[in-house]
Amino acid sequence: MKETKEYTLYNDTVMDHFLNPRNMGDVEQADGVGEVGAAACGDIMKISLKIRDGKIEDARFKTFGCGSAIASSSMATELIKGRTLEEAKNFSNQEVVDALGGLPPVKIHCSVLAEEALKAAIEDYEAKQPKVALATA
């Protein structure tokens, strides 16, 4: 037996993102905000974006959910920073799972939540665009 301290529910990468989440918080005056809930377990994730010249300049998250959901949102925001909107629209939860070095099967839906929150944030941004265009015209 190892020291009990060394036994963790998730792998080291997931634990690291859970214990030291990257990009936690809300983007100030966000250009797009997406908040989604998981029907499976009832958890909630929110992603806010700063968008400049069609690119994601900043992304932040807030999550009410399990360790896997927190790690997934941390990793997802890391991955999408710097991507174009078109790239971000093709973002898939599988990328999060891979970057995290795998999640337990029952916890895959937590990474789906991250994909959905990101897409909801982009939709929110795009829905706001005509108004912005009018205002600046």
Partner: protein, 424 residues
């Protein structure tokens, strides 16, 4: 700095008592015979087994040690009590079973199995602290009722049930009563004759005995059909060579549980009160599930729901700080469902998500409890900062279930709005 290690999951299992462990050791390599054998190796073991049986029978004040059946654990005991009794009595008594809505899965799923095999089941609801009303049990009994199954103490929320009152009703109506004592044994005195139950089960690993051994008490009036078929061990009701070392360890654990009962109960009840007071003083928007510490609650557990945060995150962060707890949150369960006990006491989904169960043991200390309170308060702050719900609550978008401000919509409504489906 080395972290403190605090085990607060004694309702799941406990370490084996030193004395029990030492008593078991010779039965692995010296006295290794099977009690069924007729040679000296077998006979040597019989004596130890009989002694252990007596000690366990004394612990629950059974009429005789012959009334005990040893099984592989609490789950098998519950299966045998329900399915074995149902099988033996369906023709003479009927095919109806009454259970409470918050029994352990071992009981729930045994009963569910029977419901698929010709039995009718009535589930008796509980009130918001998880108490069964004996009158509801009485009202559920029909002329076809063979068995009533209720637990002594709930495994999740610690509610002590009025089993003695229920027994009066079942006795009047001539129905057998099975009490699952899994969460009670070792932490409160149990007297099967005073309670008036015909069947009672528990497992010694909940009170410092080894795993792999369960006990079923069966009064001579209650017939049980065997479900493990083979040789004639355990009076023909449970085949298979006895788990001798475990039974020996269980006997010692039972002996100590009786001898140290008052002392253990006083100690953990003091810690329970300290933990409860400390947590409620340092953490806002926190709710106790089940009765407040006192006569209606088992002395060693607290089941709490902390609002705006989820249970698995709490569990993991506590574990990271050296504190081992359990949770009834849906994220923790393999089925992604909130514990059926929390649903039965009509706990709001948002609160069920933030569920944590802390159960104390005889070796926990005041320092442990103070460390848990201090650590838990920090963890709650960390997770609330991470939770969108906390900020939305502060901004008045959603309201607290525990202490409603009258501003904002409910969490459940909010979750439904953003997921398009209700959170349940």
């Amino acid at each position: 700095m080395d972290k403190r290690s605090v085990y607060l999951d004694h309702q799941t299992t406990t370490p084996v008592l030193e004395e029990a462990f030492q008593a078991m050791v010779p039965y692995f390599r010296e006295a290794y015979g099977s009690p069924s054998s007729l040679h000296r190796f077998g006979l040597q073991v019989r004596e130890g087994l009989k002694e252990a049986r007596q000690k366990i029978a004394q612990m629950i004040n059974a009429e005789s040690e012959e009334d005990l059946i040893f099984t592989s654990g609490g789950t098998e005991s519950a299966n045998l009590a329900i399915k074995g009794f149902a099988d033996a009595n369906v023709r003479t008594k009927g095919n109806h079973i009454v259970v409470s809505a918050i029994e352990h899965p071992a009981v729930m799923n045994s009963v569910e199995y029977l419901s698929k095999h010709g039995f009718e089941v009535t589930q008796v609801p509980v009130d918001i602290i998880g108490r069964i009303n004996p009158e509801d049990v009485g009202a559920a009994i029909t002329p076809k009722t063979a068995l009533v199954a209720v637990h002594l103490v709930n495994h999740d929320i610690g509610t002590i049930q009025p089993v003695k009152e229920i027994a009066k009703i079942t006795a009047e109506k001539g129905v057998a009563l099975y009490a699952d004592a899994q969460a009670a044994a070792g932490w409160m005195p149990i007297d099967v004759r005073d309670l008036g139950v015909q069947l009672l089960s528990f497992s010694p690993h909940r009170f410092y005995g080894p795993k792999g051994i369960g006990v079923l008490y069966r009064s001579r009036k209650a017939r049980v059909t065997s479900h493990i078929h083979g040789g004639v061990q355990e009076g023909g009701r449970r085949a298979g060579t006895e788990n001798v070392p475990a039974i020996i360890g269980a006997g010692v654990a039972a002996e100590f549980a009786v001898r140290e009962m008052d002392q253990r109960v006083a100690h953990v009840a003091m810690l329970q009160k300290r933990l409860y007071d400390g947590l409620w003083k340092h953490v806002q928007y926190i709710k106790l599930n089940g009765p407040v510490p006192g006569p209606l609650r088992i002395c060693n557990t607290l089941n709490l729901s902390t609002e705006f945060i989820e249970g698995e995150g709490q569990l993991l962060l506590l574990d990271y700080q050296g504190i081992a707890v359990a949770s009834g949150s849906s994220c923790v369960s393999k089925s992604l469902k909130v514990s059926h006990v929390l649903s039965a006491i009509q706990l709001d989904h948002a609160l069920a998500q933030g569920n944590i169960i802390m159960s104390l043991g005889k070796d926990n200390t005041v320092e442990d409890v103070d460390y848990v309170v201090e650590t838990f308060a920090k963890i709650v702050v960390k997770l609330r900062n991470m939770s969108p719900m906390w900020k939305e609550f502060e901004e008045g978008v959603i309201d607290s279930v525990i202490a409603p401000t009258g501003r904002g919509k409910s969490f459940t409504q909010h979750a439904a709005d953003i997921s398009g489906k209700p959170a349940h």
